[in-house]
Symmetry: C2
Subunit: 464 residues, 2 copies
């Protein structure tokens, strides 16, 4: 048999050049139990989870993979967390850079969070020949376009399964399982805090403030909740998903984002009556031109949509693929062990390649600053809209409002005015047919300037 | 930096032994565009899909991966299908074995179906040093315990993402993404034909016969539908999933299987009234002892369960993992391009490793005949049951039935007798608390022997 797979060219002692299949070559070289030496930065919740799973799975990895992981360096701001690292001879420090540059470290594991400081550590680690595994979406959303090319230049892996969707294997699915597909679009519920709050508002008929307070009490929301509820965390992840799905850099700073602060209990009740659920969605759509629209906003989903039944802190990613059809992945989007599970899947990916004498290949879905996606602004989005106006109960109000919508070419699918006790604050719900986002924005500017409008009109887009 | 990753030991011309990191070594050897030569057996629907995707994705794979796939040998029973293979110089034959043994083939792609004949082809391919990619669940369910060890012995890949769940990346998810997890249990909707029929029965209130006829008209069911509706196809896949989830061989011939032939429109209506959906489930549970229970049967799922909303021909796999939490994957379980998409993900997995000079590592989740799982018989399953008795409307009937259940230690959660026009055929629905399957079987044997019972009692298990 001749095979062009996996040959290594060697010069024999006779001086003759030979191409030896690597499977033969491997029988010629000595193989031992591989030891993969880890340097971990950040021993918070996820870091502790990684240590726990490394211990739990250690015997299995040794017997099944011939691989032993050893933590040879660790850094944390907490002395007591460092004290709990049980690996003999482990170098312990409060300086992450010392771990990134430690000469014994094979794989640098960044679990500290932050954006600019971790960039310097990851650069140092890659520059000194280490592989990098990180759970840090903010880092990659902001600096991925610099870091991925650096990893490729050094022939090193930069893996990040834990950065998007916690325990859901969405990164590996996009980069490996769907390698025969174009991703026409995706929609995701990718922030558990927001989904928990919206679920509570829908199920328990709670106000936003009450649901937020409960989320904070349960540890699902931070004391300063803005990063989650204003959609910033979701935006980081969506930009990253868009980038790896399309192999081109999508800069989150150029995207439209809207959180859930302005979603009211009334909107959720109205949605329910109409047969819809309100979810904070990350949305990515690829036009036939190849241009990409990516954004985060609250959206109305028909109750029968697969994403509509994703409840509480669960996350989900819905993919429209060119060959595999629609695909939905649902699971734990955060948490100690789910996130650690994804970190370990990356560590094993490095180890399995290493055990076979090769580097993990840089993914074809990596992106660089010189390969930026051509973006469609949110103004060009065409979708149906839910509008909730707050008007006074006077003759002629509706004709003025519908006149403005008509002038902008927006046609109305349904309109309902609910009887209210207070004739000065009457909610009017308007559902539009598909319209360009810019037209709706323009119309609302005029509508909200009317003297009969009492509050800024609430807008929620539909997602199909 | 010292690194113990990926070193190759070489003897220098001076006679000194050196350990050279492979990333340096690789810069020393010449690299070219890799050509991966395929031998495809079976050019039916899936085979045509594979050819279509290879063509569609060819330029991308060349530029992004440095890999070119070329079909150098193909076999089909159909001359016209062979004629459509457009690769120059491709060896075309009606003899699959000639493809398996063709000296130019690097990867043998088995898409023909069957069980025993493909076993001989795959053995021949592995014996002659080829990697194997297959979509054939029946082959692997029956012969996997022989074929996986053979692949491992030869250091060759035997990949089968397309064999379970069509376009859903469940195999790679179990083998790679969840490598830090034990799988405590799984439940899957893994036969699209059955799920389509049950969905039609629920949504359109159709009888089983009508729904089956419609499925046949639409091409979702075969003219001879037994393989699907009696659960055999699902059983093959469940045995395979159980085997790879636990790394031990689960022989499908030892498992309990029940299809959907006996699910009546009445049962589905009753389930709906109770807030449940009827689905044909594949179920795998691992006890604390490590023993595995695997089976296929129709089950009642609470409407809020994530699997309950999986409609029509969609497939889904629900995993209970030890670290990542509950995980659900939903997608197209069959079809030309979804299945081909999974075949290509395997081809690329082989190619990516080959391009890096290494074999794809044999999965730690492979199983062998000498590593059989310790199985729990279905008799030991503890669950709640739905029983539909058909009785005559006579005093004392219910006390006799409930007496028998009580004697077997089965306690009743709910009982309802529906008023019927025909006093000779009165349906009585009994829901039990959790009970051992063997006890229920024993009780029903006695109940069905009563003179007041008109038809064999229908039993549907609950799944939580």
């Amino acid at each position: 048999m001749t095979s062009n797979l996996a040959k290594i060219r060697v010069r024999a002692f006779t001086g003759k050049k030979l191409a030896i299949p690597i499977y033969l070559w491997r029988t010629m070289i000595k193989r031992e139990m591989q030891e993969i030496r880890l340097g971990i930065v950040g021993l918070g919740t996820v870091g502790q989870g990684v240590l726990e799973l490394l211990e739990r799975q250690g015997a299995f990895y040794a017997s099944a993979l011939g691989v032993r992981f050893r933590v040879v360096a660790a850094s944390s701001r907490s002395e007591s967390s460092l004290g709990r690292v049980a690996y003999k001879g482990c170098f312990k420090t409060t300086d992450p850079l010392a771990v990134a540059q430690h000469p014994d470290v094979d794989v640098f594991v960044e679990l500290a969070g932050g954006e600019d400081a971790p960039k310097a550590w990851v650069e140092a680690a890659l520059d000194s020949g280490k592989h990098v595994v990180t759970a840090n979406k903010a880092l990659l959303a902001k600096h991925g376009a610099t870091l991925f090319p650096l990893a490729a230049k050094h022939g090193r892996a930069l893996l990040f399964e834990a950065a998007v969707g916690g325990g859901i294997p969405i990164v590996r699915t996009l980069q490996e399982s769907l390698i025969a597909n174009d991703i026409g679009g995706l929609a995701c519920i990718i922030n558990g805090t927001c989904n928990y709050i919206l679920t509570q508002m829908a199920v328990k008929k709670e106000s936003f403030a009450t649901a937020l307070a409960e989320a904070q009490r349960l540890g699902y929301a931070e004391a300063d909740p803005g990063f989650d509820i204003d959609g910033v965390d979701a935006l980081h992840k969506v930009a990253l998903l868009a980038s790896i799905a399309h192999g081109r850099y999508v800069d989150y700073r150029l995207l439209s984002v809207e959180g859930i602060r302005n979603v009211s209990a009334l909107d959720i009740r109205m949605a329910e009556e109409l047969g819809y659920e309100v979810k904070l969605l990350g949305v990515v759509e690829q036009a036939a031109s190849g241009k990409i629209l990516a954004a985060v906003y609250p959206a109305l989903l028909e109750r029968s949509h697969q994403l509509a039944s994703v409840q509480g802190v669960l996350n989900a990613v819905y993919l429209k693929t060119s060959a595999a059809g629609p695909l939905l992945l649902t699971g734990a989007g955060a948490g100690k062990l789910p996130t650690a599970s994804s970190v370990l899947s990356d560590l094993v990916a490095v180890a399995r390649h290493a055990a076979d004498g090769a580097m993990p290949p840089p993914s074809m879905a990596y992106f660089s600053a010189t390969n930026a996606a051509d973006l469609t602004p949110i103004d060009d989005l065409e979708t149906e809209f839910y509008l909730r106006l707050t008007t006074v109960d006077k003759p002629g109000v509706l004709s003025r409002v519908t006149g403005i919508l008509g002038d902008e070419g927006i046609s109305i699918r349904a309109l309902s005015q609910k009887p209210e006790h207070d004739p000065e604050n009457v909610p009017v719900i308007i559902l539009t047919h598909a319209a360009r986002n810019a037209r709706v924005t323009a119309a609302l500017k005029k509508i909200d300037a009317l003297d009969v409008i009492r509050e800024p009109t609430r807008v929620i887009r539909f997602y199909k």
